[in-house]
Assembly symmetry: C2
Homo-oligomer: 229 residues x 2
């Protein structure tokens, strides 16, 4: 039986389109994050709170992936005019070509940061390069402390890991130390950002984001690609 | 360009193996459920509580799908000796051939009900027949009331929908009516079973399960395939 290496070809094609996206992001001097977390972990709530908090300080845009409905984009559009919804139908993750098409509907030149909110799924999105600078993983307290051990690929590839819904800690048996231990065993020095999007406890995430933006601008300036305003 | 219908072929092959599984389940008179829910919605906790509650009343077995780790199987094995873990590596859902292989490690003849706890993922598992009698969908309160609308395929294909973590309702802004409305719009008459696995509030789920077992046995008896003990 002849094996058809279809999956490898699809990933290779995806990587090629991701490289084109990356070029486009670089030339527009936009830092791009791929935000990956399960359904209901609070990705949209975090981005709403972030857009509200950083309004006037950081020019952000969001691409939102979802099977169906435009609810998330509508929620975000109240805080930001650079929001594009990508509906994947039955597709369980975003691919680079979907991001590429969505870029036609966003004004990259006006942005400093673009967050791609991936489809709510901890597994499939991890293997697809979208052209982003950083993958950011997201878990939430009600999911339980065993999730990093169960999703090692995301923990290993993420540049930072957000732990959301810290406000629910008093109502749940969640072993915070076991969570941290599993994360750091898989990825030493991984920043673990404990937040609560609904109560506005965002400081560790905002600090990480702003630090990344600063470093990104410094690198771009050093490379001569960015004019100081 | 010639299109290679690889996905269709994979699904067709999966369906063929699922049909073999179904034959095997039927001849052993075992009712089989495919339990599908996101990471951290409480599938394993529900099954632990169910096994504990129905010990001595219903002979149950569980196949547990997970990327990695055998933690869930270990949790369940405390309550039941017919538990098999299937590790999928990077695989985001169970397929019929994985279930088929796992059946070699379980004694079907001793069971009345087999629950297949699918990989924690609301999207990919939905399209794969495993040979089960019913798909059971599972959401949890912290995920938010918008999840049925965002995951219509699961809501439409499920025979029942479990809403877990009802104990967290006082601590969250969860619109219970919107949740029900979206479910019933997509799937009129869908049983919505509100439970809390950790506090032992299981009645609607246990009643649904026992009703299904009763109907299954009646059908099998009517077909002459099951001897009354």
């Amino acid at each position: 039986m002849k094996k058809v290496p279809v999956v490898e070809n699809l990933l290779k094609l995806n990587d090629e389109v991701a490289a084109l996206n990356r070029e486009r992001f670089r030339s527009a001097h936009v830092l791009v994050l791929d935000l990956i977390g399960a359904t209901g972990c609070g990705k949209t709530a975090l981005l709403e709170a972030t857009l509200r908090e950083l309004a006037g300080q950081l020019r952000m845009g969001v691409l939102v992936g979802d099977l169906t409905t435009t609810r998330d984009a509508e929620r975000l559009a109240r805080w930001c005019d650079q929001v594009v919804q990508i509906n994947t139908g039955r597709g369980c993750h975003l691919e680079a070509h979907q991001v590429r098409q969505a870029l036609d509907r966003i004004d990259l030149e006006r942005l400093e940061v673009l967050v791609i909110e991936n489809v709510g799924n901890l597994i499939c999105p991890v293997g697809f390069d979208l052209g982003h600078d950083h993958q950011v993983g997201m878990f939430s307290v009600p999911e339980g402390e065993d999730k990093p051990a169960k999703h090692p690929h995301l923990v290993q590839s993420a540049s930072a890991l957000i732990l959301n819904k810290m406000d629910l800690l008093p109502h749940l048996a969640f072993d915070r130390e076991a969570f941290r231990r599993d994360c750091l065993r898989l990825h030493p020095d991984l920043p673990i950002l404990e937040v609560s999007a609904t109560t506005g406890r965002l400081a560790p995430w905002l600090a990480w984001l702003q630090d990344r933006v600063t470093r990104f601008r410094q690198r771009a300036q050093a490379a001569g690609g960015l004019q100081t305003e």
